[in-house]
Assembly symmetry: C2
Homo-oligomer: 92 residues x 2
């Protein structure tokens, strides 16, 4: 039973971490960030950074790894949002 519970936890971590990859790829390709909330990615990136610091403090490898990957992806999306915002819909 404990193994099944752990599998749920690992699957959850993998899905929520890797979910930002298709968003980053889409944004890099399409250069369209109109529908994306700057405040969301600002808050989210700050939160993930704090999760990473928390993971380092408590020396929890899954928290460190998951949040390091998410931080890189969220920072990419945040950077592209700042780069393309206010420039109309699509940039070639």
């Amino acid at each position: 039973m404990e193994d099944i519970v752990s599998i749920f936890g690992y699957l959850a971590a993998i899905l929520t971490t890797l979910s930002f990859l298709p968003q980053a790829i889409k944004t890099i390709r399409e250069k369209n960030t109109e529908g994306i909330s700057f405040i969301m990615y600002g808050m989210f990136t700050a939160g993930v950074l704090l999760w990473l610091i928390y993971g380092l403090f408590i020396k929890d490898i899954p928290i460190i790894v998951a949040n390091l990957i998410t931080l890189i992806l969220a920072l990419t999306i945040l950077f592209l949002k700042m780069k393309y915002s206010g420039r109309g819909t699509k940039i070639k």
Copy 2:
């Protein structure tokens, strides 16, 4: 020291959970989901649902509360993405 570490964890959870609120508000208001990745919100919602199940299994209140709030917000964004996708840029 342990208190400071806990504060980092709580702040991290609050930021990453509530970050989806400005995105949901923006999407409800602007009805523009062009830049948002459907695959991201599909994966993310599934992941958050698994986090919630995991939290219920291990009876961890912070995991349950944070992921219940995130699930409602992520489901809202996913639903709006499905509703408005493929309809051009902006719908009044």
